[in-house]
Symmetry: C2
Subunit: 102 residues, 2 copies
DNA sequence: CTGGAATATGCCTGAAATGGCATATTAATA
DNA sequence: TATTAATATGCCATTTCAGGCATATTCCAG
């Protein structure tokens, strides 16, 4: 199973997740929207499903996929300390501006 | 050149970035800390350098690498809408708790 | 200017992942 | 039950990448 970091490495999978943010959709709809053939779409969905980033619901022959973004928290958590770096630099900039005002 | 998303796919590179959060370090120090051989470390640093995630400073024969986390903003930005999903669920949970208090 | 330390680079190999295509599976419908 | 729609899976070819090793490069010290 791929880690969520590896999953995000592929632009196609990122687009797929972005598309699913609009709401749950069938495999066919997704394939059409993202202009990839059906088997490729099924494979992308499978990798995301195995990692728990998407979930499925069955509707007759259709599989309706929906976003399950909880798994992305791992990425967000990893990123957190770096966010502190940016804010640190922002603070530094603010201090600079303040000193200029004096 | 790799995208920042692809760069984060490799656990070794993530560890390297994490290590650099402690402060700037030479190639040799980094290799020792992360228990990888020197050529491998130089390669990892090169890929990160090409993407602008780290920067170098020359000190005699040594190359001192430091973190340049600005490039990670792209990941953070992409992640932002998903963060909204989590908060949404948090809000829902809070509403549930409030209704329980009534 | 010679030797050694620190780092980078080139080459090769093995592993893994993507894309395309054919085909299997599952479910509805006539 | 035969047919068709929707989806999944298996296989093959191609590519890409990390790892390991040898070696080139750069710089200081003596």
């Amino acid at each position: 199973m791929m880690t969520c970091f590896e999953l995000l490495a592929d632009p196609g999978r990122r687009s797929l997740l972005d598309e699913l943010r609009k709401g749950e959709q069938s495999v066919g709809t997704l394939a059409k929207q993202l202009k990839v053939n059906q088997p490729a779409m099924s494979k992308q969905l499978k990798t995301l499903r195995e990692a728990g980033l998407v979930a499925v619901r069955i509707d007759a022959q259709r599989r309706i996929y929906r976003l399950n973004p909880e798994g992305l928290r791992e990425v967000d958590d990893w990123l957190a300390p770096y966010r502190a770096f940016w804010e640190q630099r922002l603070d530094a900039m603010e201090r600079t501006l303040e000193s200029l005002e004096d």
